[in-house]
Symmetry: D3
Subunit: 282 residues, 6 copies
């Protein structure tokens, strides 16, 4: 996996890393276009013809999320303008691309993730919706939310706050509520719900710490805290706080691991994740 | 939430209420168009340009559910004709809109629900499919069923009977079988299955009473009866009858609450729902 | 159900049976077109106008899975060429059609399945993606995988090996990992995950024997073996081997049935399935 | 050509004739669908599935004239509402269909004309634009005008008044100005201009009498009068009045025929037109 | 027509005028949207939602000229980038808008011209194709040329040089060859050909002076010079030089007017054009 | 222009030449894709990804001529099947491509002609319509005719017989009637009409000999014979026979040249055409 790292990587990443990843993506797309002429048109229109990752991603999302009443040109404009107005969005995108390469063994290239991962695309579109929401442009943020839910079957309320280095693996059926907060380097499998309980309105959804891993089909309800590095087993129902570096499994969930601090799972390129067997699903 | 009620509401609703809600929707859409020019085209084409809620909804569903082999004009016609031939459909639509406003704290306006809630749209399209099924127009009912399942990831057999005041919240992954019956004022979260067991053919799916609440990811199997006002916990697997005003949780489910009769949850505008914490997910 | 069998059926099927099923499909479509003029255009374009099941299916999949950057004509070509180059694909298609007719009481005709069953369509498209993957045409296989996941919310890694006579019922949310293997005559309900655990890369997904039945929402994780004729209950979490003709239920799953050998569930046309009540969901 | 006449035709036509023509069209379309399965989908969606000629025509025009910013559903609605509000539009449509059958030897059926004649379709859409103009809905009339000019390359100002029984043969490049008036039973070939001169604004375009025939590429300029039954030669440039039953040819045009009164060319079903050889082009 | 002039107009125009015209267009579109809700969606998406004339025009052209193999997003980008890289393009656009308002009595507003005039739109797209040609990006210039010819039936070779203040009235069928040069403030009616003769390659097309007027259907062939302020009659065939302020008419053309110098026809807002009657066609 | 000839060309052409031209086209498209990334997607989808000229052309025509009611996949099938069933169609295509390269100085490559020349594309689609007509599949031939007339503004009756080596230059507005016959190596400019006169039905349209050249806007009417190598001047109106190697000009046309036999204008690669100056327009 050394090929997925820039030659002189420093922890902070930044423009240099963004540029390196974009060059990798274009090189991958060119190789694929060379080997598979039937796909070349797709690869040129989505990647190779673009001058930047921001443009490529805006183009791809505009064409993915458009409908007969929300034109691709309008959405392309919206994505391009939003990404251009806040450069932290691009660095989050790059962190998500690296997360997929490092944590998902089925991810064979950055280009593969950029084009084909519905979880990746849903998160990028969500960040734009979130920024529009923060600017009090709620109607358009909700229209975008609706298109993401229709097209990717991923339902993230535009108000939800999401960190970077996120892997939404498979992604179908993920539901994340309005007051949820997700840290950095979090991995969430398909059918995961971060839902609310009881209170109408107010702060009612989970807070997910950095480096957390939530297995397929897990349901986390209420304003509970899932601590840094914690793990939630597939199919679990969690309505309690989970301490850092602890594992919760079962319906309802009980705590089964804990206290030991593993390595943060994306700071070492090429690491082998040591997931408890019943949690992770790829 | 007083703004979501007509000035002189009577329990029965009717044409007066339908008209009031439609006027609210148009006013909301106009406010949104004013504040967000990028969305104005969408709001005019889907809402403001139409002379009635029936036309607006038929137009929106026609454009949402069309494909290259099922044209939007054909579907628009089908929806318009069906809604026009049975006025009870419109009053069910209005009851569903009010249900979303009253029960979902994330629903900020009727227009938001009408345009963006895939659960709401899936239910409206289902009612049309159901009516076509009842008229023995099964092939077209099933084609519509298929489009709803593709576009919204909501799979309701056209034969299933569904009441009014329904909230399908988030909605992705909901599956409702052929002989299921759902009462009025029911709330169903995403990933809920009302499925069959054993018998091939025949009456084999759940019967859901009025005012029932079914949490995210719950699976209810077989011709069981979920009594009026009962609640089913998120992630539960229910294969037994649940008495009225009782709560079922767990996999397999056990009964945990019961007997106390709460207020019917939508007859008091602005009520605060008192949901058991592990059930409700928004 | 005798109408769904060719007059002189032999166990092996083959070209004779393929032709019989295709003739049935066209006859069904013609009857539906006759009775429902509003659907006739759809039925002619998808079925009646085609000279073979291969062409009809390639046309329908091309129009279902296309996007603005992956044209229907390109996909149609890809499907047609792949189906033509490997005739075993067509016999698998026919076996799947028969599986739907025999095992799903809601399936009223072959044409209904061909046109409307997202699980059926996802499996057919997957087989093409799998063949492209086997030919080392990975980028286009993954692009197809992505379209299937977007359009049908069914996520089957192109490397996964899938037998014939498969019923993916309802299908929304099904996720099947890279090294999974599925035998013949398997029935899988919606929201089922055949996922990996722990190991990054390598053989890490379930192996599903012939005639297995996996209930809605079940999660099977790791390189475990689900033996021939076994059953997995709805909502179960399985991380252990399940012996042949045995039933696993619960979260985590325990074994509850076993040893008795039922009839293989599709070799007797018109059989009544004797499913344990908590497993099957239609 | 007796097959193109109702069994008991009276000169006035009316609802009886409209119904007869619509039944003919459906019968023709059914015959064509029977003989050509590849076209059946098109014939069902455009003709056979519709309950009236008004609906069929509105559907066809909506799908022909739509664009990504003017949706087919919107145009369909506009056509349907306008045709429904003024029944004289339908009788003009029927007269135009009969004109094509009687005067154009290349017209093999009413259905052929309804579906494929761009001149016929442009005239029908123009009548709707004209009515909207008359209702002072100028912006939408001009938007429609623009779509007709783009799609059919026929440019008729919405204010122009056009009679019934019109044949625009081939039609490409026809331009008809704002204050032009065209009588009944007029035949106009392709590339014909009815244009203005000199005056800015005011009544500045030709007035075409009943039964006039204008050859291909002819240009008629200014507020001149082309008398009843007159003929204009192909390629002529006419800036003078042409008396009734007279022929004008040349660039600039001179009068060459005249005074003899032929039969009005559509009151005798099946008549053989006796056109001067250098005028008519089909 | 004073309403079509900025309050403090100076001959040179420039940014101030561009801004004034854009504000007029938006005000017109808002008035039209107010009065015609059915058109509001179209007007918002094409005009009102945009922040500049450049964006509005690029959006409109992208949606007009796109095809299934040349996406609207790609074309939008191409137009936007080209207009942004050369500000003289926008001032030519504004001059063309003013030309339509001043010279075409059927033009009721700037917005009408911007949205609906195929001649205006063809010229704007041509200027972009011409710039791409000048940058030696010939293949994309020719692809654009082809789309303009398909969509608007206007065929201008990308190498042709075209001034500003151009009115292509009706525009269908206009053909302008590779080495043609057109001055400023020229009016060209539909079906006009500026074609080549004899020589293969080389400078072989007409040179049209400032303020020239060419009537409908006129054909001008060869490297001839049509002098400043000259007029060419409708239907003429011109293969000779036409001196300034002279009129050519007939097939073949002869010179009939001359020497008197009229006012340049667009420097006085609101002027009444004094066209010789047989030339002009609107 | 030697680059447009195969190294070992023999007069007859045949498969060898077809293959050579297709290889040239792919090489041109690859060069263009290399130099212009924005166009690469278009070039790959239309040319580079295809295995033969027949497939590339069928794909391109299917996408050009499709509509919402005539799907691209259906048309692609129709073109592919028809081209495959009659190999003479392909050699006519190749002859037309060579005609454009040799006779039109604005044609810079075969790929340019294949993708962008509406006259070339209209002729190829016409040949398919003609073959369908000959097979008595009239309704679909006429539907195709209608699409060609809408999309390219070229109106060729499907019954008209057209040779090979045809150049329809610019092409907009060309109208060719039902009983017209066109020989080989004919060049026809835009706005040319080959029309009928007088007789209703029967053989009533022009017969055009080999190597004829018809200038822009010329109108030829009636069952007249234009002899081999003859020329018709731009804007002429011809209603008489024109002897071989003779030129007709004027309205009405008179004969002005004659008897001298020029070289057949496409048998010498790179020839310089010696057209009488008033005829030819490019």
């Amino acid at each position: 996996m050394s090929s997925s790292s820039p030659p002189t990587s420093n922890g902070g990443g930044g423009d240099h890393e963004d540029e390196w990843v974009w060059n990798e993506i274009k090189a991958e797309a060119r190789r694929d276009a060379e080997s598979e002429p039937a796909l070349a048109s797709y690869l040129y229109s989505t990647i190779i013809s673009h001058s930047s990752l921001t443009r490529s991603l805006s183009f791809h999302l505009g064409n993915k999320l458009c409908s007969s009443t929300l034109l691709s040109t309008l959405l392309y404009d919206l994505f391009l303008n939003t990404f251009s107005s806040d450069h932290s969005l691009l660095s989050a995108t790059v962190a998500d691309l690296r997360a997929a390469r490092q944590r998902d063994p089925a991810c064979i290239s950055f280009a593969h993730c950029l084009l084909n991962y519905k979880g990746f695309l849903a998160i990028q579109a969500h960040r734009v919706a979130h920024r529009l929401w923060a600017l009090n442009r709620k109607p358009i943020a909700l229209a975008l939310h609706s298109r993401i839910a229709d097209v990717f079957a991923v339902d993230i309320h535009p108000a939800a706050r999401v960190g970077k280095g996120i892997l939404l693996d498979h992604a179908t059926g993920v539901v994340i509520g309005e007051t949820a907060v997700i840290g950095n380097n979090v991995s969430i499998l398909h059918h995961v719900t971060l839902g609310g309980t009881g209170k109408v309105g107010g702060d009612r959804h989970p807070k997910i710490g950095d480096g957390v891993l939530i297995g397929a089909g897990a349901t986390v309800l209420g304003n509970v805290k899932i601590g840094e590095g914690a793990k939630v087993g597939a199919g679990s129902l969690v309505m309690i706080d989970v301490p850092p570096w602890t594992t919760a499994v079962g319906n309802p969930a009980r705590l089964v691991g804990g206290t030991e601090k593993p390595k943060v799972h994306d700071d070492v390129p090429g690491e082998t994740m040591d997931h408890t067997s019943f949690i992770y699903v790829i």
